[in-house]
Subunit: 588 residues, 2 copies
């Protein structure tokens, strides 16, 4: 059972993440509050009624590979087609190719709900969205006209083919090769692994985006090109022709997201898979990064979606399950476990963490929208904001997904460990998100080495000043519990400023290895502080006399009084543990 938290999502978009800035822009005058609510409600209905019921069968039956063809679980194909026909694949797609060109913020909100419905279902369209964006920005008019309309509508799906056995996090090591053909196309040879929805029966065609090297390409990542390799060729009239030289050679047996086929793809077992170049030769990585940045936010939203679903389920269980007597309980019977203080604490943590992930992911989407809409003067600011928030949205939200799902299992007790309740599925599903689209370690390194130094560190200062204003407003608000919340936030901000200074100084002084050693605790420190500030921002905009508002204030107070306290230890750890870390030799 999943109920889309539409009003909380709308509140977060509007009062926390800044949807009004986007609505105020001339490109989005049609995005009224009414339209936003209508879209959220309809998306929530589809997620709850059509997708959520598929989550269990996707997990239990998984996918089946037979003679190179992958069959998805019963009901998945019908649901996907209904979803695409409902226009849900085209929310942000370009208008000239049939898309609705709505803000990324709305897409983020809808994506949360698809992921709450079923993470294994929602990940497919995420990859299509990446392919759409790469083609829109980098592909030739021929490729755009041939492929974009059906990718935008969802009639076809896209994939992203990076990983090879020897090249996971390190794309320098890619070996798949491409040869120039006389007709201007290319022939692709090589094996790719971990290809999500690399083969399936949801759509009639699958459009693979594949990284490979030309024979005369420079070594390393400057010698990688991006190719479009359709499963079936497309005839000039748009109908499908023969099958390309690409096949699914295997499907992984995974810990979770069983509904989503993770394929080993063989390109060019015969004469070579026919591919079309996207962008310029040897510039494939830039194109791929277009896909990857938004994909990182989308993966963060997976963590959010699973966290929300796990929280709803644990809450329902805790209100229903009775054991023992809670302090101060009336009557004679056993109390709902939700009344026991220790379980309350766990439920509060689940709800607060989930809201932290939501606020950060939506703020990230806001920055992406603003970067697209901004004039020359502001574009850099918003691009930097999006760049800075992306690794945090990805890493923190996916850690949150695992932590919250684990708390959900725990609240279920023994029932959480048997698969029939579904609590364990969330825990298994969520565990991939900290790994793919750049491990969370890599996100942390990206934040520390590439994002903190943006504009010489000034972008970071501006962001911290914004958070400091929230902290001061909370401290001075006057309502019950706000002052300690503001003070806790100010303390956390001081920790964050100190750690950021340390990080920038370490890099300026050539002690890059020390910065790397502290990257993971730094991302968590920054994410905690940012998250607490966004919860406080929401609390400031909430009415304590109204039930949802009072709940938001409780969450913000709880988070500031509990989890936020970790920032001091994280800041200290960054400064003091790095020499021990670097001195460590694993082989000893």
């Amino acid at each position: 059972m999943y109920r889309a938290p539409v009003s909380e999502i709308a509140f977060t978009l509007k009062e926390v993440a800044g949807l009004a800035d986007v609505q105020a822009h001339a490109d989005h005058t049609e995005v009224s509050d009414d339209l936003v609510l209508a879209i959220l409600e309809e998306a929530g209905r589809f997620a709850a009624e059509e997708i959520a019921p598929l989550n269990t069968v996707g997990d239990r039956q998984g996918t089946r590979l037979e003679d190179g063809a992958v069959t998805t679980a019963p009901g998945w194909k019908e649901a996907y087609r209904a979803w695409a026909e409902g226009g849900w694949n085209s929310l942000t797609g370009p208008e000239e190719h049939g898309g609705q060109a709505l803000p990324m913020m709305l897409q983020a909100a809808a994506l949360e709900m698809w992921n709450s419905g079923s993470m294994a279902f929602a990940i497919g369209p995420t990859l299509t969205a990446g392919a759409v964006e790469a083609l829109e920005k980098h592909a030739s008019p021929y490729l755009q006209e041939t492929y974009l309309p059906k990718l935008v509508s969802g009639e076809w799906m896209g994939t992203m083919n990076l990983t090879e056995p020897q090249a996971g996090s390190d794309l320098n090591a890619l070996r798949a090769r491409a040869e120039r053909a006389e007709d201007g196309t290319y022939r692709i040879f090589g094996q790719k692994i971990f290809i999500t929805y690399g083969e399936h029966d949801l759509t009639d065609n699958i459009i693979h985006l594949v990284l490979a090297r030309l024979p005369d390409a420079p070594a390393g990542t400057r010698g990688i090109s991006l190719f479009l390799v359709p499963k079936f060729f497309v005839n000039p009239d748009g109908s499908l022709g023969e099958c390309n030289d690409v096949r699914c050679a295997g499907v992984e047996h995974k810990l979770g997201i069983h509904g989503s086929p993770t394929c080993t793809m063989a390109f060019g077992d015969g004469d070579g898979a026919v591919g079309w170049l996207i962008g310029e030769e040897n510039r494939g990585l830039a194109c791929m990064f277009t896909m990857m940045n938004n994909a990182r936010l989308a993966v963060g939203i997976q963590g959010l979606g699973v966290a929300e679903r796990a929280t709803q389920q644990a809450l329902a269980y805790a209100l229903d399950r009775r054991q023992g007597r809670a302090p101060g309980a009336d009557g004679a019977g056993m109390s709902p476990i939700a009344d026991h203080p220790d379980i309350k604490r766990s439920l509060l943590s689940m709800q607060a963490w989930t809201q932290v992930a939501r606020a950060i992911c939506y703020a990230n989407a806001h920055a992406i929208d603003m970067a697209r809409l901004a004039g020359e003067a502001e574009r850099r600011h918003w691009n930097e904001r999006a760049a800075m928030l992306t690794p945090i949205a990805k890493a923190l939200s996916t850690d949150i997904g695992v932590e919250v799902a684990s708390l959900g299992v725990q609240i279920h007790g023994g029932m959480g460990y048997v698969e029939e309740t579904g609590a364990a599925q969330h825990f298994r599903d969520a565990r991939i998100a900290p790994i793919y689209e750049g491990t969370n370690g890599i996100q942390s390194i990206d934040l520390v080495l590439r994002k903190l130094p943006l504009s010489g560190g000034e972008h970071l200062q501006g962001l911290l000043d914004e958070l400091a204003a929230v902290a001061a407003a909370a401290r001075d608000d006057g309502r019950e519990g706000f002052e300690p919340m503001g003070v806790a936030l100010q303390r956390a901000l001081a920790d964050l400023r100190g750690a950021a200074d340390w990080m920038l100084r370490a890099q300026a002084e050539g002690r890059q290895a020390e910065a790397l050693a502290g990257a993971t605790p730094f991302l968590r420190l920054m994410g905690l502080t940012l998250g607490a500030a966004l919860l406080a921002k929401g609390a400031l905009a909430s009415d304590a006399d109204e039930s949802a508002g009072a709940h938001r204030i409780v969450l913000a107070r709880y988070f500031a009084a509990s989890h936020l306290g970790e920032t001091g230890a994280l800041a200290a750890q960054i400064a003091t543990a790095s020499d021990v870390v670097l001195a460590y030799r694993a082989e000893a």
Copy 2:
């Protein structure tokens, strides 16, 4: 691949947990250092060569229920029988029934290795050990003579039947009923769930210990009696007779430990299962607690065992897998990921946490041994020490099991998410341990409400003084890195003293609900501090010029500089978050 860390285990027993105190006792003059090492090496060999290879097949094939009979995975029966024939089931068993009466500390060490080999395998004998202890302490001579020799040898296995659908953490709600028969036996009726190894083919007989109520029993836990219900009756000559009225009605489909059958047991579908009373009527809970206390330490050791195995596997992978170039790398190729600072940090965390779990579990076993061996004057001290350490050993070590296994998955990257590497199995297996034998929330409540106040809080003070002596010794040691370690430990101890005072005051002032709200962070705070002190104790006893000693010092320094810093936030959280927690209403 698992290699038993025999020398590290021996060091921890001896230099950290106090094995010499036990060896010095007249009852254990035979337990020489040579004997200890010989037992550890032989147990390690069996764990690595005979048990560890069964872990994967146990996970993949699980167990099969057919016509009420459960078949374990291929090879399991043979391995179990070889294990029992090797005398491994009888290490601590009473001599008069064929046991070796060795110290619990050796049993704890061996149990770590069995669990590293396969947690699903090791859990069966853990339950037998609990049954042996309950029978030894509470059963009639007839029951002891009839059942103990074969339970001690491992020829038969024991089970523990507490849980019913409506009674998990709350035994007040038990409904299984017992009726007196004319011959002095009883007839048992009722269904029990989550019965580990409730039915299987490893042994010819299974001895169920079952909690049930007599018709005239008082309500609540003072009306529960404990019965012995054999699967097959035992003839006067020791041969097996007919089957009792007990059957396995189902086997759970679980997240992990698939090799271990978790059964629904139906007692008395016919005329009633014949049971023999253990101890006195209505005093069953006291008998059951005999089993449960040691079972709690055994579950803590499951967390330890899985953590050690996951760490070994992640380390091997990180040394083998090459990606990117580490800072300062020589040569041209890719570096082992173990050389990247962020991965070093993760490996250090895995190793340090594992050693924390080991030190605490062994210290707990030491206290149990000392309580058994102590004269009148010291018995209370050691009983209190064992009582205080048990909830920490159980809860912290099992949290460590999950955290370390999760880091292990993460270090494997995408390969960690596919089941073939086995990293995901550790993550799945480990997840039950924080739940069963009293959830970790219940352990925290036990620590705060029942253990902190022992001897009016004086036992705690004595323990803290011991830890303070370690901190002072570290601060004054003079070797590189020891001073900050000692200072960090002193700070943590101050946090712990403050939080413990707060907890005892809250209870003295009738604010029990507040104490409950802070119980989970308190247990972690105490566990972190205790763990860091034990690592420091090991470091103080180590030679920095010797490779293993240098490694121990690095782990202790790293843990003090990183994870230990969390204590300040935990102490603050206990004092400041409890009012928000209590004000929270889940139903809102």
